[in-house]
């Protein structure tokens, strides 16, 4: 059984139909969140071409995320970053057997519709792309396809879940090759979870109500999350992961898996690095195996990366107040 906290039940995205002699239902929270559960302990890799997608699959990626440009190139290029070419997404869907995800702009309902019609397995409403509506994220209950959203803290995570996100990932600071912000974000979420769990355990309903007001999220979602002591959906780390040790470190902080963006295909040893990051994510509890994984990469081939303190563009702030 998986937690269904915040589930709105019979929403627009839920489709009932008869197939042969069976009554079926699609787009339920069990199916959307359940899909994310199948990705646990895995690595989702950003890709821009069929070749990269195949390298990712062969390396043991649990899914690929299709973008027009890798996050570090989005940062360099400037301008408006939009959803990837549908033709490329389709070519990738036809060439790998693992799930294929794609990003849409925050709040861009119709880019998401187009991705759902394209039949991608999961839609990432992502701060890496230029937001279309920073005040209002997509109401994800209207969709049959599941969504993943970024979050920097518990409030953002729960607001996205309330809107129908089936999976959460940290935002980190995409395209920097610097894991520091992802570390802060996962620690923020963990600290806040510990706090609401202790309030729940103390039976202090009044305090829990004030937490709900502070996080701008409904009381029932806060209460159920507090009782679980963890997010009611699968929670991955993302943003700046570049090495096997980065991935393993985030797993030790309680993440269910990792997304790797520019870290792999902006490195000069992408193939080995992809495999090494998968090994480190799987065997993160065994330092010797993580060392072996780290040995597979060459630090001189890592992407140079950026200091996250002096960035002109902080992608993580996009859509964070909504």
């Amino acid at each position: 059984m998986i937690p269904l906290s915040g589930d709105l039940g019979d929403t627009k995205g839920v489709v009932k139909e008869k197939i042969g002699s069976f009554s079926t239902i699609r787009g339920t929270s069990t199916l959307k969140r359940g899909f994310a559960h199948m990705l646990k302990n895995g690595v989702v890799m950003d890709v821009t071409t069929v070749e990269q997608a195949q390298i990712a699959e062969d390396a043991g990626a649990v899914a690929v995320m299709v973008l027009d440009k890798l996050p570090s190139d989005v940062r360099k290029a400037g301008g408006v970053a939009r959803t990837a070419s549908i033709r490329i997404i389709q070519e990738i869907m036809d060439s790998v057997t693992i799930p294929v995800m794609a990003k849409c702009r925050i709040g861009h309902v119709y880019e998401a519709m187009v991705l759902q019609e394209t039949n991608v397995d999961m839609i990432d409403e992502s701060e890496v792309l230029t937001p279309a509506d920073e005040n209002r994220h997509i109401w994800k209950w209207d969709f049959t396809s599941p969504f993943v959203n970024g979050a920097r803290n518990l409030g953002e995570a729960l607001r996205r879940i309330e809107e129908g996100a089936a999976m959460i990932r940290t935002k980190g600071e995409p395209g920097t090759g610097n894991v520091a912000e992802a570390v802060i974000h996962i620690k923020n979420v963990n600290t806040e979870l510990r706090r609401i769990k202790s309030i729940y355990d103390a039976g202090d309903e009044q305090d829990l109500i004030s937490v709900a007001r502070e996080l701008k999220v409904s009381y029932s979602v806060v209460e159920e999350t507090a009782s679980l002591g963890r997010l009611p959906v699968v929670n991955f780390a993302a943003g700046g992961i570049s090495t096997p040790a980065d991935a393993a470190y985030l797993m030790t902080l309680g993440c269910d898996g990792v997304f790797v963006g520019s870290g792999i295909f902006k490195a000069d040893d992408a193939k080995e690095r992809a495999q090494a990051i998968v090994l480190a994510t799987t065997f993160w509890e065994d330092p010797d195996k993580v060392k072996e994984a780290q040995k597979m990469i060459d630090e001189r081939q890592s992407m140079l990366g950026l200091d996250t303190k002096n960035l002109e563009l902080r992608m993580q702030e996009r859509g964070s107040t909504a």
Binding site: F35, M38, G42, T97
Partner: protein, 204 residues
């Protein structure tokens, strides 16, 4: 009996849900036993029963091959240990798998369950569905089937018993000590299938 030892293969996928469902099944059956995550050949060698959970079969297969678990699981199944493969786990147990879109697959498999499997047989995630199914042969007339990018079985060998079908598609099978389903019992609140598997271990 005193203390059965059931492992959930914890390479990748939905391990925690299976631990919970199996623990509940043991308790409801009034049996004694432990349920643990297993990853290494050493952990697997001590088991009385194993569940290979849902996840991505290419990932679970490749990584189990890397650390020698695949070989150990093969030995244990050959020696009669009951094993339950769910979705990706059932693909792992099979002799042959192909993908609906990409075609014939060359992925590491355990090569026991005498079936040919079609991966992603019902389509992509948007086509994932829930439906009530039945497994009358094992005394479960109604079961909430949760199908997530699910496979189906397209050919079965003579020793394979078909437990359930969704229209024409085979979705649950048994072959001696091997149980396999295309759907995910661990995502539902119904533990009858986990209880059936625990009983298989109990009788072993």
């Amino acid at each position: 009996m005193s203390g059965i030892n059931i492992g959930i293969l914890a390479v990748q996928g939905d391990v925690a849900e299976n631990i919970l469902a199996t623990k509940m099944a043991i308790e409801e059956l009034g049996m004694e036993g432990i349920v643990t995550e297993v990853k290494t050949p050493e952990q697997i060698s001590d088991l009385d029963g194993l569940i290979i959970p849902g996840g991505e079969s290419t990932v679970i297969g490749t990584l189990s091959l890397v650390n020698g678990s695949l070989k150990k699981i093969k030995e244990k199944i050959a020696s009669g240990m009951p094993v339950f493969g769910i979705c990706a786990g059932m693909i792992m147990l099979s002799k042959k798998a192909k993908d609906r879109v990409v075609g014939e697959m060359d992925q590491p498999l355990l090569d026991f369950l005498d079936v040919k499997i079609e991966r992603n047989a019902f389509g992509r995630q948007k086509d994932s569905f829930e439906s009530e199914i039945s497994m009358d042969k094992i005394g479960i007339p109604k079961f909430p089937g949760v199908f997530i990018r699910a496979p189906s079985i397209i050919e079965t060998g003579k020793d394979v018993e078909v437990l359930s079908k969704f229209n024409e598609k085979i979705i649950a099978v048994k072959q001696g000590n091997i149980l396999g389903t295309a759907f995910h019992p661990e995502l539902t609140g119904d533990i009858s299938l986990h209880k059936y598997f625990v009983s298989m271990i109990g009788k072993n």
